[in-house]
Amino acid sequence: MNPKLSRHIYGWLLVTPALILLIAFTHYPIVSTFINSLFSNGTVFKQSTFIGMESYQTMIDDPIFWKVIKNNLWFALGTIPTSIALAIIMALTVNKAFAGRAFVRMAFFTPTVLPMIAVANIWLFFYAPEIGLINNVLEFLGLEGKNWLGNTSTVLPAIMVMTVWKEAGFFMIFYLAGLQSISPELTEAAKLEGAGRWYYFRRVLFPLLLPTTLFVFMNAVLNSFKLVDHLFILTKGGPNNASNLLLYYIYENAFAFFDTNYAATLTVVLLVLLSVLALSQFFFLDKKVHYR
């Protein structure tokens, strides 16, 4: 056989298993989500019918949808920069020798191996008014505690704190790997030239870590839309949807209200959001970063 042709065939054969699975569980469902969002929810009393853009109109009129979107943007804004900044600080800290480094590094990383759903119960105890740990510590310090999860103003920040706690250590690992590949000579050279620490970080380290930051950033963005496990235990999206996030609202609609078509409409929004983010990364950020 023509060797060139056989390369083509081999290439296709090798990607086929992955391709079939990806089509089945990513591409096909994307398409069918769009289609389903154009139909009404069928029950015994009413057949499912084509309703065009009607459920999009319903969605635009749905105050909870807007609240959930707003919450999700605040959630992203509150968790992404904080967890990245903390991850960098953590990585810089444990990248040099000091007493107890092994313990500190382990401490930073442990949240990553703990299932969100399991630790949510422990955080429930931390946040509980009256009996909870945080309020008892505050009381000990002579400060007044709060009903953290029971107030619309504190519930989302409380959820964010837990998310940052969960994510920062994971991102730290990537920065640690990034830092260790930077040659020590560079640090020495900078020191000899008398560069200040902040200057050194800003002008030397941070640019070198930019690919890491990009990778971590995309992960963090994705997680801010995907991570809803703790809501199941901590708040169920309440009080009055103050901590409800888009994916949790989708779950509620599909599996608690049995309205899969409205859930599909909401999913379309999530898909569009994620695509826009992915494309903007591709076009704007990627230009600044040199990929191998």
Binding site: T43, V44, F45, K46, I64, L124, F125, A128, P129, E130, I131, N147, L149, G150, N151, T152, T235, K236, G238, P239, N240, N241, A242, E252, F255, A256, F257, F258, D259
Partner: protein, 426 residues
């Protein structure tokens, strides 16, 4: 698909072996029952014991009980199983799931399966208020089993210290507020009372509105969220923390409330009777249980789970499921179940058994839920009940967190509910 082939093959094999050995043609019926148990442990064991007892009496029926998590999980799972080809024949699900299940075309009415007079008598043997949520279109669709109401738990030692009589718990709202004011400490290290407002706020609200002589819904397609009675009830709930300051502000977590009570951070809590055995085992202090106090009248919604039979079943399976339900609700078993769990005995006959009589004599609080039944009303249940319930939940939480006034919040909820339910009226 594979499963059903195996099933057909195995039942064929059984039938074959039976005919060969020339026994009477007694084919085995296999039942799968979904059962909602949030925390496994003892409750699972009690159900297993009952099921084992049933199988001993009925060797021709085999029952697999599947413990599916909390009520919400159980309902989702049971419905999912119908679609995915691993169907169950019966399930215990929330009594308020009825209309949703009818709408999903998932169940048949139990009443339609009853033929003999004896069967019909059985259907009438339950407490009428427990049957309210089982009724649609003048037909009884489900059978009560794991049922509860809201009761008031109180700390007798706190009552003594505050100069209140621990044997006469507050019986009216005025008394409740007066007691609460005495029980609340100035530094808030001890609160007068707590009503949970996460998880199932609509349920607690059902009690407050009923006490105000107002129901929340009718026929599954009308709600009265913005009625004066409901608005006043919500105002009272808010006032408990804002005006009288005997309850913490913001929402109160359903799941941690019991711990608050056990840690003596609150003197009174309103909670499900389902907590009775745990409180009894874990309280390090003398506690009491009472009916909820009266506004214009006493009142509580019923709650908890009923048996349902799925539509996608054979005639034999339906009859076998019926047999199982009859066994599990028979006075003796119901009494045993109530003693072990704190849930209610579902029929008056259950409370006439010697076992339950003696238990109530030794632990009178076990009968509070039953005594309260005469003031009970149905739990909020409408078409698209999950969605409508959440509208009310949101309104309650918006009020308690100070985002909206009771009137504003409830009017908004009523408007959204109206939008959904309009379609279900003829």
């Amino acid at each position: 698909m594979k499963k059903s082939i195996i099933k057909i093959a195995s039942s064929a094999a059984i039938a074959l072996s039976l005919s060969i050995s020339s026994f009477s043609a007694m084919a085995e019926t296999e039942l799968t029952m979904y059962y909602p148990v949030a925390v496994g442990g003892k409750l699972t064991k009690y159900v297993d014991d009952i099921v084992d007892g049933f199988m001993k009496n009925n060797p021709d029926i085999k029952v697999n009980a599947i413990y599916a998590g909390n009520y919400n999980d159980a309902r989702i799972k049971a419905l999912a199983a119908l679609k995915s080809g691993k169907p169950a024949q019966l399930s215990v699900m929330l009594s308020v799931d009825l209309l949703e299940l009818i709408e999903q075309d998932a169940i048949i009415a139990v009443e339609d399966l009853l033929e003999s007079d004896e069967d019909k008598k059985w259907l009438k043997s339950f407490y009428p208020s427990l049957m309210e949520n089982a009724t649609f279109d003048n037909k009884k669709w489900s059978i009560p089993f794991q049922r509860s109401t809201i009761v008031m738990y109180y700390n007798k030692e706190h009552f003594r210290k505050a100069g209140l009589d621990p044997e006469t718990p507050p019986a009216t709202w005025e008394e409740l507020i007066a007691a609460g004011e005495k029980l609340t400490k100035d530094d808030k290290s001890q609160w007068g009372m707590m009503i949970p407002s996460t998880g199932y706020p609509y349920w607690m609200f059902g009690a407050l509105t009923k006490q105000n002589d107002q129901v929340l819904m009718a026929d599954g397609n009308k709600t009265f969220f913005d009625s004066q009675g409901a608005v006043d009830a919500l105002q009272l709930w808010k006032d408990l923390s804002e005006k009288y300051q005997i309850m913490p502000k913001g929402t109160i977590e359903w799941g941690t409330l019991r711990q608050n009570f056990l840690d003596q951070k609150t003197s009174i809590m309103w909670h499900s009777t389902g907590n009775l055995s745990v409180v009894k085992n874990k309280a390090s202090f003398d506690f009491g249980v009472a009916m909820l106090p009266a506004g214009k009248m006493r009142g509580t919604p019923t709650g908890g789970g009923n048996f349902y039979i799925f539509k996608n079943t054979t005639k034999d399976e339906r009859q076998a499921a019926l047999k199982l339900m009859k066994y599990m609700t028979s006075p003796k078993i119901a009494a045993e179940w109530s003693i072990k769990t704190g849930y209610m005995g579902v029929s008056p006959e259950a409370y006439e058994t010697t076992e339950l009589k003696e238990y109530v004599k030794a632990f009178p609080y076990a009968a509070i839920a039953r005594d309260q039944l005469k003031y009970a009303t149905a739990e909020l249940a409408t078409f698209q009940t999950g969605r409508v319930r959440k509208m009310l939940d949101d309104a309650i939480q918006a009020t308690l967190t100070g985002e909206k006034s009771p009137k504003e919040a409830l009017e908004a909820a009523q408007k959204s509910a109206e939008k959904v339910l309009k379609a279900y009226r003829k």
